[in-house]
């Protein structure tokens, strides 16, 4: 349990660190909504009231330094405003190729696009494209995101975009790593919930069918239990929990049925067969069985596994 606990704590810390970045994203989104007018300090104070001025300055300065924002004087209001730089217009020394590549990446949206596909679409040479991508990346117009679907596959998207779930893997991934421990803990807890539900029906003398019906839980019930437990700092959806519950179905521990209203119901079940005789013997589990013959390198008479098991 210790290892699991620390894993969860880490998630917690990471989410807190994300705070400022989330605000940054929010500011970018605001600027995107007003591509021409831009946003002023005053607008920001209204839209994000809890943001302290020093924090605001910090973020804006960062964005300006990254050449993501530009400062401009709004002629109508006479207020100094920030707006998103349009790289296709502004980038100094931006040649046509860079613009083309930028456009292709922009079109790919938050699902990103693979180098190979950019090459096909832009008809650029490999080395040339590499250079352009590098340049756009250093200027922070685009970024590289590792996809969870394939560890070697990198996709490009605009710098300020939040990658799609299909790229990040959603709740189950942290920095492209699948969080086995987290999933395993949830799998155990969901099962514990269903098992306890079943335990409660024992000795309550209401007849077997009523008892069985009491052991069913909807995915929402389970979701609530897990949320209340507070083991996950990431917000999980009911669909997320259903994914976990399905792993329990695949584990053979839980059965799923379709309720009248179209929702899924789950309950813990007992197996039909417990530990067949074969696997209670050394030869049932033996890793070298294929090489075990009367005159082979391993023989039943010399066998170490049987000797240890007999002792």
């Amino acid at each position: 349990m210790e290892a699991e606990g620390s894993g969860l704590q880490e998630r917690n810390v990471n989410t807190n660190l994300d705070g400022l970045e989330t605000i940054e994203q929010k500011i970018i989104a605001l600027a995107q909504a007003r591509p021409n007018k831009g946003i002023s300090d005053k607008d920001l104070a209204i839209e994000i009231p809890d943001l302290r001025p020093d924090q605001r300055a910090q973020i804006i300065n960062k964005l300006l330094k990254q050449e993501c924002f530009e400062l401009y004087n709004n002629k109508q209001t006479g207020v100094l405003s920030y707006r998103l730089r349009d790289p296709t217009k502004i980038v100094k020394g931006a040649d046509n190729e860079e613009k083309v590549v930028y456009k292709i990446i922009e079109e790919a949206g938050n699902k990103g696009i693979w180098t190979r596909d950019i090459r096909f679409k832009s008809n650029l040479m490999h080395t040339q494209l590499k250079k352009i991508l590098k340049s756009l990346e250093t200027k922070k117009f685009i970024k590289v995101v590792k996809s969870v679907a394939a560890s070697k596959k990198k996709v490009y998207m605009l710098y300020n975009l939040e990658p799609d779930e299909s790229i990040t893997g959603g709740a189950w991934y942290q920095d492209q790593d699948f969080e086995t421990e987290f999933v395993d803990v949830l799998n155990q807890q969901c099962y514990r919930f269903l098992e306890q539900k079943k335990e409660k029906t024992k000795n309550c003398n209401i007849g077997p069918v009523a008892a069985r019906n009491m052991t069913f839980a909807s995915s929402k019930d389970v979701w609530k239990f897990i949320s209340d437990l507070g083991i996950s700092k990431v917000k999980l959806s009911v669909t997320n929990i259903e994914m976990i519950l399905n792993t329990l179905v695949y584990d053979g521990k839980v059965e799923r049925i379709l309720a009248g209203d179209g929702s899924n119901l789950y309950r813990a079940i007992e197996p039909l067969v417990i530990s067949p005789g074969l696997i209670r013997t050394p030869c049932g589990l033996c890793p070298v069985r294929k090489h075990c013959f009367d005159d082979g390198p391993v023989t039943p008479i010399k066998c170490q596994y049987i000797r240890e098991w007999l002792d």
Partner: protein, 500 residues
């Protein structure tokens, strides 16, 4: 594919009947043969071949068929040889129904293959005379005759009529009891010559009856395991009712009316089952295991026992446990996933099983390599055989796995028996010595030996010898138990095949 099954059969033949019989069995392993061919093949003198064949035929391991030209071919039945492993269980089963006397009688029939009723009674009488403690009732020919009739009434024994393969399959089992001349039997027991009155009417063990009973027990305990003892008992009653209207090996029983089930349950002392009978029926019927099916609504409902499906589910559960135990719970998750989702590719497996990509891939390939799941390349329609490997689909071929695991059981049994023989022969001297010491000591006791003398005799076994002997005996006991356990799995898997 059937290497170890054959090896196991040959080992059993050698253990029980010796070299020559094994040799003849071996020559019949792969094809039927005529007497002459067997002789040529085995290089044994004709008389030995004949004797050996006689033994094999007597126990039902070999039957014969005549072809159009009139020559007689001998056929070996491996599945019957494997039943040798179950003889102890058969005897125990007879004991629970027909007491110790029944057990001994069944043992006599098993030992002889086929035998007349009077002979069984005489042999059993003689054995019980030697060990009167085993006899539950007063030892008398009349009591033994009753026990014999009880065995027949339970259909544990039946007439042995023919060893011809062709005829055997069409014959109906016969259970008509002979008229025994009791005085004649008593006279024979006293060493006189007499005619017991059942000359040439032979009996043999009705193996099918035992096989059915073991099959039924598996189903009852599965329901007990899944729900509770009430559900298990209900299953037992349903199976009993099935026998009344359906041939024992039919895949699904004829409809059993609710009223009849209720009648049967009333006769039991399962109060809770009686009170909630409707609900228990619903419980079993609605369960995903589908052991029974509701097939009609008239008269409170009609139910059918689905043997075929029950064994499919039982075999799935067995194989799933084997996978879990051999390759871990994550591998078992993948295995069940492929079972439930039918055709899946690697990406789907990884997403649904929620196992990291690398691990999922690795486990899937292990399962494929060990033949628990099958891989199939998806060919896109219209494209010619592409040089690159396309994406793969995974699916399960259950029958193939069952055959593979039957082989696995046979290999495990073979190894365990080999090992036990080894332990026995390794400690033979010690075991014999202990026996001698025991006999000596009990003889001396009868002749009024002193404590001191007895202690001296006991000391003939040194402490280290006693210790070693104890160790060996424990090992042999453990190996014996294991043999029975493996056979349970083998039995379950074997039952599946004829249904599918």
């Amino acid at each position: 594919m059937k290497d170890f099954q054959s090896k196991l059969c040959m080992l059993l033949l050698e253990e029980y009947f010796g070299n020559i019989v094994q040799c003849i069995g071996n020559s019949l392993l792969h094809s039927r043969k005529t007497l002459d061919v067997i002789r040529l093949h085995t290089n044994l003198p004709l008389i030995k071949v004949k004797e050996g064949l006689c033994v094999l035929i007597k126990y039902g391991f070999v039957t014969y068929q005549q072809d159009e030209k009139g020559s007689v071919h001998y056929v070996l039945h491996c599945e019957k040889i494997i039943m040798l492993l179950r003889y102890p269980r058969y005897m125990l089963f007879a004991k629970t129904y027909c007491r110790d006397e029944g057990e001994i009688m069944l043992e006599e029939v098993l030992k002889h293959g086929y035998i007349t009723a009077s002979e069984v009674i005489i042999k059993t009488y003689k054995r019980l005379e030697e060990t009167p403690s085993k006899c539950a009732e007063q030892l008398s020919v009349a009591n033994l005759k009753n026990t014999f009739e009880l065995l027949v009434k339970n259909q544990f024994l039946m007439h042995s009529i023919s060893f011809n393969t062709m005829k055997e399959n069409i014959e109906k089992p016969e259970y008509n009891l002979p008229h025994l001349n009791m005085t004649a039997i008593s006279n024979i027991l006293q060493g006189q010559n007499a005619d017991p009155g059942d000359n040439k009417l032979y009996w043999k063990v009705n193996f099918d009856r035992f096989t059915q009973d073991f099959r039924d027990k598996i189903m009852v305990s599965a329901m007990t395991q899944r729900f509770d003892i009430n559900a298990g008992e209900l299953m037992r009653q349903l199976i009993n009712l099935m026998y009344l209207r359906t041939a024992p090996w039919t895949a699904t029983s004829n409809p059993i009316p609710y009223t009849e089930i209720k009648e049967e349950v009333k006769k039991l002392t399962f109060l809770e089952l009686e009170q909630y009978l409707d609900q228990y029926l619903r419980l079993i019927e609605e369960d995903s295991s589908q052991f029974i099916k509701r097939v009609g609504d008239s008269g409170g409902g009609q139910y059918s026992v689905n043997m075929k499906n029950a064994f499919k589910q039982l075999v799935w559960a067995t194989i799933e446990s084997i996978v879990a135990e051999r390759f871990g719970s994550k591998a078992a998750r993948i295995f069940r996933l492929v079972r439930i989702e039918k055709n899946v590719n690697l990406d789907q497996i990884q997403q649904l099983a929620m196992i990291p990509a690398k691990e999922a891939k690795c486990l899937t390939y292990i399962l494929a390599q060990e033949n628990f799941i099958q891989m199939q390349e998806i060919k896109k329609a219209g494209t010619l055989a592409a040089p690159t490997k396309g994406p793969f689909h995974f699916y399960i071929d259950l029958t193939k796995i069952v055959q593979m695991e039957i082989e696995h059981c046979c290999q495990a049994l073979y190894n365990i028996i080999k090992r036990r023989d080894h332990e026995l022969s390794n400690n033979k001297r010690m075991i014999e010595k202990q026996l001698r010491v025991q006999i000596l000591s009990s003889n001396m006791k009868e002749h009024g030996a002193t404590e001191q003398q007895l202690a001296d005799i006991a000391e003939m076994m040194t402490p280290s010898e006693t210790q070693q002997l104890e160790k060996a005996q424990n090992a042999i006991k453990k190996l014996n138990v294991t043999e029975l356990q493996i056979d349970e799995t083998l039995f379950l898997l074997t039952i599946y095949l004829p249904y599918h």
